[in-house]
Symmetry: C2
Subunit: 337 residues, 2 copies
Amino acid sequence: MGTIYDLAKKTGFSITTVSKALNNYKDVSEKTRAKILQAAVEMDYLPNAHAQSLSTKKSWAIGVMFSEANEVGMKHPFFNGIIESFRHATEEQGYDLIFASRNLRNRDMSYLEHFKHRAVDGIVVICSDRMDEQVQELMRSDIPIVVVDMDSADCSVVYSDNIEGARLAVNYLYELGHRKIAHLAGDETTDAGTARVEGYKLAMQGLDLPIQPGYLVNAGFFSVEEGKQAMQQLLDLEDRPTAVFVAGDQMAIGAIEAIHENGLHVPNDISVIGYDDIEMIQYITPKLTTIRQDTDEIGEAAAELLLEQMTAKERSQERRIIPVKLIERASCAPVKE
Amino acid sequence: MGTIYDLAKKTGFSITTVSKALNNYKDVSEKTRAKILQAAVEMDYLPNAHAQSLSTKKSWAIGVMFSEANEVGMKHPFFNGIIESFRHATEEQGYDLIFASRNLRNRDMSYLEHFKHRAVDGIVVICSDRMDEQVQELMRSDIPIVVVDMDSADCSVVYSDNIEGARLAVNYLYELGHRKIAHLAGDETTDAGTARVEGYKLAMQGLDLPIQPGYLVNAGFFSVEEGKQAMQQLLDLEDRPTAVFVAGDQMAIGAIEAIHENGLHVPNDISVIGYDDIEMIQYITPKLTTIRQDTDEIGEAAAELLLEQMTAKERSQERRIIPVKLIERASCAPVKE
DNA sequence: CGAAGTACCGAAAGCGCTTTCGGGAAGAGG
DNA sequence: CCTCTTCCCGAAAGCGCTTTCGGTACTTCG
């Protein structure tokens, strides 16, 4: 492959000139630049990224960190859409993504430490757990950062409009005639969870609907199983709801399972509306009506915010809230009688 | 954060000694090592990875490349499971994953070039397209590599036992009494596709079942939509099959949709068995019977093969075939009458 | 024809680390 | 007391690149 030094020897110029030719400095004549470039392709020379980073202090790498309760990592059906879109957007600018382990030569270290070690130019964290110590540490650092799906005053964030999403869901159910509307909530340690609860309460209030006791149940961390269990609690109630707004699609799938297992029908007996619009829900029965979060937009916005900081070389504290949309499918119906 | 030089100044030792202390050389006394380590935590020193890689020629990074027809990247419901497991396994050994863009400072380059530029220690490619020029190039290089889901004599590979999987599926349908068994195949440019076709033919032959004309249809690149269209072809046949073995779960979902839209019932009218066992199929109706590929095992095997090469510093050509398993759910039933 | 630009090139220092090699001090052995 | 080890430590070169700064050679202009 060869180094810049080999190129110098081959062409007869100094390594300085070679480097300049390669980097489009203008104090090198067209003629010699051409020769050097030519020689470069001949010996298919490639610059060594480490050497470059060492002297320029720029690594063209972005560290990514996931933090979610279920530890599914890239299998997360919602987060992986965001990351994919983020990747596209940053790739265009020449950045690579690095997924850091927390293990440096068998020495434990925090993500922040690892990212500093790797000298990444910026960090993206996709995080649902507000309390995550590691994430806090990252946010307090001075590396450009953007966090997705969580709010914070300390750094730039992007998340979708959870309040509005909840309002959309509740109002939609209301328009279908439902009055007994329950909410299967995401855990309050997550911003998404709490915001949707807030939106639910606000919407109910705006509609002059009381929240009956037991109608607001914490369904944990957005898993199918937790959704199922939480729905069972609703079904055990004396006065069952006729519709339920579920804070996540996977939980909604669990909820529907519970309803079916109790011999009831969705949406005829109970309407269910989810949140996220992950791919699989268009294939289940009934196809799930949901609030769509635009993963593409979220990823792009995150990329944009991070890129800005990296080029400006200063941290920002911008808040980008991405609009959501109601996707009508088949899991909601007008209330009976 | 400081450099090794700062540490030297602070402790009064030379940078040589500091470096040695940090790297557990034994020609530095316990006393001075302790002092240096102490000073290191005090100024929370972290070694610069680029500088280290530059002088050691080891980057502790593994390049990952996806290559699949639908360009969904990390959203791929099967591949992302593999990558996640691969990540876990390599993380334990202290490696980071890097997803390279094909764009270096707005200069196009191949993945191989980019990986060389980044000086990764190894490469994992998850690839379904046998013809991918980029993948070919990677395989021909001298960097340690492991490729998943594809066969090759040039490098170490891991994929699951597609022949056996197909046999399992066909035999299962046979035992349910089916004789008219069709196959919705993955495209022949993919190894997984062709292998399953081969397994299908072998199994049919072993059972003395002729493959009726039109019963083997290419359903393309494993998408829902393609599965649906291919199934429609089957349904348009004079003599419809009573069971169909579909080369991928997503295609199977499409197939079921097509069947339903034609007013038929799964599994009462037609049995469907899929392949992969992606998460969502346990939530559709009917729950899909399928051949499970063990993504955890595949990822781990890939990691193992790659790690071996990286420590041995020589390429291997091992072939690791991961067993598959029939997962019985609700989309297959005994043949009618 | 001399002075002031202008265009092009290279020496050298520096980025932060590793590793070889040699050397001094202390202890062991005769 | 002298030699031979053993134990510690440091000088220095090197990894591959960037960038400042200065220096030639050549134009241009008055």
